[in-house]
């Protein structure tokens, strides 16, 4: 069955790179949705069901940590898996993301192979 993915990053460049890496890693999605921050992602999830979210942490308006908190508080979207794609790998803020339910991490910079390795567990 075709799936839907939501990519959350304030950088348009990074959103495009992530989308390309997903294709290079062999994942095919019915729809690739994009949001520039956590609030925009929540707004989007209110109207569209997705199978997985790939989210940056350090973003304006609403960062990835607050996005996880708000998502967890909403029973409708609480169960959607979120993988963090961030420069913050190995840091306390990433540990906080995992405690808030993030299911995996991909460190920037990344390769399509690393994307495949992490997302292969969930897709």
């Amino acid at each position: 069955m075709e799936k839907k993915v939501l990519i959350v990053d304030d950088s348009n460049t990074m959103r495009k790179i992530v989308a390309r890496s997903l294709r290079q890693a062999g994942f095919e999605f019915e729809k690739v949705l994009e949001a520039p921050d956590g609030q925009a992602a929540l707004d989007l999830l209110a109207g569209e069901a997705v199978d997985i979210v790939l989210s940056d942490i350090n973003m304006p308006v609403m960062d990835g940590i607050e996005f996880l908190r708000q998502k967890n508080a909403d029973a409708q979207i609480k169960g959607i898996p979120v993988v963090m794609i961030t420069t913050e790998a190995g840091t306390d803020v990433l540990r906080e993301a995992m405690e808030l339910g993030a299911v995996g991490t991909i460190k920037k910079p990344f390769t399509a192979e690393q994307v495949q390795e992490v997302l292969g567990k969930f897709l």
Partner: protein, 151 residues
Amino acid sequence: MDLMNCISEATQEIFQSMLAFEVQPGAPLVERQKMFRDTVSGMVGMAGLYRGMLAIHVPNAIAKNITSTFLCIEVEDIDDDVKDAIGELANMLAGSVKSMLTDNGKDVKLAIPSAVCGREYEVECLADGDGVVVPFQLEGGEFLVECFLQK
């Protein structure tokens, strides 16, 4: 690991894995370059236990090539896509420096990346910070990565 090695390794890794570009670090500049011409500069501020700035200064032609490779499109002008791409390079570099500076990146926060461009502009930095400016060679020219910090 010292700042010079961290910047050198992180820059090579980012350019190799995200762009498939080979870049070679040169000897650090003796004196910081303030004035830039026909360049795009991506910058990330750092705050907390260390405060300062990491910046990457990329000549327009190389910045357009980087953006074109990132987005798989032809890039003719220095537009928001180019500034976003160079800002994201600064963001990835700052993340590497943050991880090096403190145990688990604790007590250092990164600002949202920003980018400037223009015919001629000046980039100021901490007057009393310690840091390094590293030139990198790649096909088509040279760019600079600098990081100045105060503890």
